[in-house]
């Protein structure tokens, strides 16, 4: 607008110098116009600044909303767990062809506990897990959430919320990480749904992959994962399976120190709202992460208590020093 008017002005000057005064007046009004223009630009700038700050606020609130969503998701982690979800073993007895592997054992593990089972080889640690997951026949009683576990088939015990891992990582190596997790999730499917393709990634699995740090490996065959990640996948499978009693057989064997640390933290987190029992030989790992410890020897409980209590127990020390533990 101003440009055009200035051009008009110069045209007029050329044609008629007598009208100079008018031209000067025009100059003055021109300056005023420019000032107004500047003011306008300043206003615009202010508006933009306001907008930027509003957007900043929006980003902040969006971030907060995402955090809220994440927190909401993390509730998944805490699903269903309540104080009554505890394991109570009474008079558990396992015998192999006359050899008593577990002798009238009583053991209670509370909800929210991270319990370590330690003891020399042949103490019956793994046998206890085998017995309560239906792999090995046993007498006595083992109740989780008030449901008797003994005498049931392994696949029925899983449905009661009991999950376990094995000493050797046993994932389906040919299937991808995601498919392994889907296997772990799928046991509640109706027969009809078994014949449908699995589409997409469920929220549950996505979250658990995040928790176990396997998201980037989702589509890799499980067989090419390094040992540590295979164990994490196993733990992830237990979580996806919605197990509330987690039984882990030497989960950190063969792991690097960093992997141990991460596994420990993961298990600590899992145990917040679950019952976790770990069979382990790694004392360092136990000291770092155990809430409580049960020491077994020859199928019987030798001592039970916190890490300090166990470390100060003379009998335990003598077994470990005298018994020639690995």
């Amino acid at each position: 607008m101003s440009g055009t008017s200035r051009k008009e002005v110069s045209d007029v000057t050329e044609k008629n110098t007598a009208e100079k005064n008018t031209a000067e007046k025009n100059d003055i009004s021109d300056a005023a116009q420019l000032r107004a223009e500047a003011q306008q630009l300043r206003d615009e700038a202010r508006q933009m600044r306001d907008e930027v700050s509003r957007m900043k606020d929006e980003i902040v609130s969006e971030r907060k909303r995402m955090q809220d969503l994440k927190d909401e998701l993390s509730v998944l982690d805490d699903r269903g767990g309540q104080w009554s979800d505890y394991l109570e073993i009474q008079g558990l007895h396992v015998e192999f062809d006359g050899f008593v592997a577990v002798k009238d054992l009583n053991l209670t593990v509370q909800h929210g506990d991270l319990r370590f089972l330690i003891g020399p080889n042949g103490a019956g640690k793994t046998t206890i897990i085998d017995a309560i997951t239906g792999l090995t026949p046993a007498t006595g009683s083992a109740k989780f959430r008030g449901e008797q576990l003994l005498g049931r088939k392994p696949n029925d015990i899983v449905k009661l919320g009991v999950g376990r891992t094995f000493q050797t990582a046993s994932v389906v190596e040919e299937l991808s990480v995601l498919e392994n997790l889907q296997l772990a999730e799928g046991f509640r499917k109706k027969t009809r749904d078994l014949f449908r393709p699995v589409r997409g990634v469920s929220q549950n699995i996505q979250y658990m992959m995040d928790v176990t740090g396997l998201t980037a490996d989702a589509y890799k065959p499980a067989g090419i994962l390094p040992h540590g990640k295979k164990q994490w996948l196993e733990i992830g499978m237990l979580l996806v399976q919605d197990a509330h009693l987690l039984l882990l057989d030497e989960p950190v064997a063969g792991m690097t120190p960093e992997e141990r640390q991460q596994t420990g933290e993961l298990l600590k987190r899992c145990s917040r709202n679950r019952t976790v029992i770990i069979v382990e030989h790694d004392m360092e790992f136990m000291r770092k992460f155990a809430d409580s410890v049960t020491v077994l020897n020859q199928g019987e409980i030798l001592a039970e208590g916190s890490v300090e209590e166990i470390q100060n127990n003379d009998e335990v020390v003598s077994i470990y020093l005298g018994g020639g533990e690995n």
């Binding site: 997951t133 696949n155 376990r164 040919e174 078994l194 393709p197 699995v198």
Partner: protein, 385 residues
């Protein structure tokens, strides 16, 4: 952020799935076109041979599912093939006979009343259902007994072999009611259609071809579904699957019974195509030879069993008459060389490229490493299978 990765890969995968779907339709259209083309280019005799190969291909599709996917090395598919075939043969025999009549061989033994299991299959509907249901049911019973007790691997293979051996001996032994070693032959009609008429032969060819296509599609559907993952899971980690809340036995029984039904249907079609079924078609050796095409084509692939079976049966017809001795050596060497050196058969061909690249291209970096690792996994799998 990591969620984004998952979604990113997820959408890639669904794009792949779209392509996959598209590819399948192309495959089906091409296959159907080929099926209709064959009668135009082949003589009636060759078409009959092709129909016979297709019957064996049906068995192979089932073996691919049970063995390739499910890890159940069944050496006894001849049993199910035979059951389907004998049900069909009994029905076709009865079609020719009036009420109260008995087949010639029975008359020779002086039998005047039809045995009960013959009469059962007089009704065409019962016979058609029977060719699939009888083998399926027997496989289910055997599967429940065997898999239910955790018997697997070599034990299962041996039991399936023993069963088919006992079955063929039983057929020979009970010659008064089964035709014995001669089997059942000389069928004139197929559900009222004259079997000597070339048009009807062509119709039987179409039935065989579309049955194979249908079976391949069924197996493809299973492989793509969650059941496919379950079957692989049971193959590689049977006991682990129990601790994931599944009953491995029921998954195995399902796959094995389906394979048995396919074999039974293959056997049933074999009867009108070839015109004879006898114990020598279904004994121990014929049963293992039913695996040959699967071995060559690639046990873990979808189409390998069909392609391999058609190839090997074609080769058999070409060579076995002219050079019977040489053909047996070839057959033996196929089992030896393929299983020992290329256990995944032609299905392995696609692995050849990365292997060559790694070996000669010096392909460094993570890709080669991944391929090697994947190869190691595949190898390790073979171990457990």
């Amino acid at each position: 952020m990591s969620n984004g990765i998952v979604q990113g890969i997820g959408s890639d995968k669904s794009a792949g799935a779209v392509f996959e779907k598209y590819r399948v339709w192309v495959g089906i259209v091409v296959t159907v076109a080929l099926i209709f083309l064959m009668p135009a280019v082949l003589s009636g005799y060759s078409l009959g041979l092709l129909s016979k190969y297709l019957c064996y291909a049906m068995v192979a599709v089932g073996i691919g599912l049970a063995w390739g996917q499910g890890g159940m090395l069944t050496l006894g598919q001849g049993l199910f093939f035979g059951l389907g075939a004998y049900v069909m043969a009994i029905h076709l025999k009865l079609e020719e006979l009036g009420p109260g009549q008995v087949p010639d061989f029975m008359a020779q033994y002086g039998i005047t009343d039809l045995p009960g299991f013959w009469d059962l299959f007089r009704n065409p509907v019962v016979a058609v259902i029977g060719v699939a249901v009888v083998p399926g049911a027997i496989a289910a019973v055997l599967g429940i007994l065997v898999f239910g007790r955790g018997v697997r691997g070599a034990y299962f293979a041996i039991l399936s072999q023993a069963l088919v051996a006992a079955f063929s001996v039983l057929l020979v032994g009970q010659s008064k009611t089964t035709g014995g070693a001669n089997g059942l032959s000389d069928f004139s009609g197929f559900f009222g259609y004259d079997l000597t008429d070339p048009a009807n032969k062509q119709m039987i060819y179409y039935i065989c071809a579309f049955l194979v296509l249908a079976m391949v599609l069924i197996v493809r559907w299973i492989r793509k579904s969650f059941m496919g993952e379950l079957i692989i899971g049971v193959r590689d980690q049977e006991n682990r699957m129990k601790f994931l809340g599944y009953n491995p036995a029921s998954i195995k029984v399902f796959a094995f019974s389906l394979a048995a039904m396919f074999a039974g249907i293959g056997g049933a079609m074999f009867v009108p195509v070839v015109g004879i079924i006898s114990p020598s078609d279904i004994g121990v050796t014929p049963s293992i030879l039913m695996l040959a095409g699967v071995v060559i084509g690639g046990r873990t692939t979808l189409l390998g069993p069909v392609v391999g079976t058609l190839l090997i049966r074609f080769a058999e017809t070409q060579l076995s008459d002219a050079y019977p001795s040489a053909w047996t050596y070839i057959e033996g060497l196929i089992f030896i060389l393929v299983i020992a050196f290329a256990p995944y058969g032609l299905g392995q061909a696609k692995d050849l490229w990365p292997w060559l690249k790694e070996k000669f291209g010096g392909g460094a970096g993570s890709t080669a490493g991944d391929v090697a690792a994947a190869g190691a996994v595949v190898g390790a799998k073979a171990v457990e299978a």
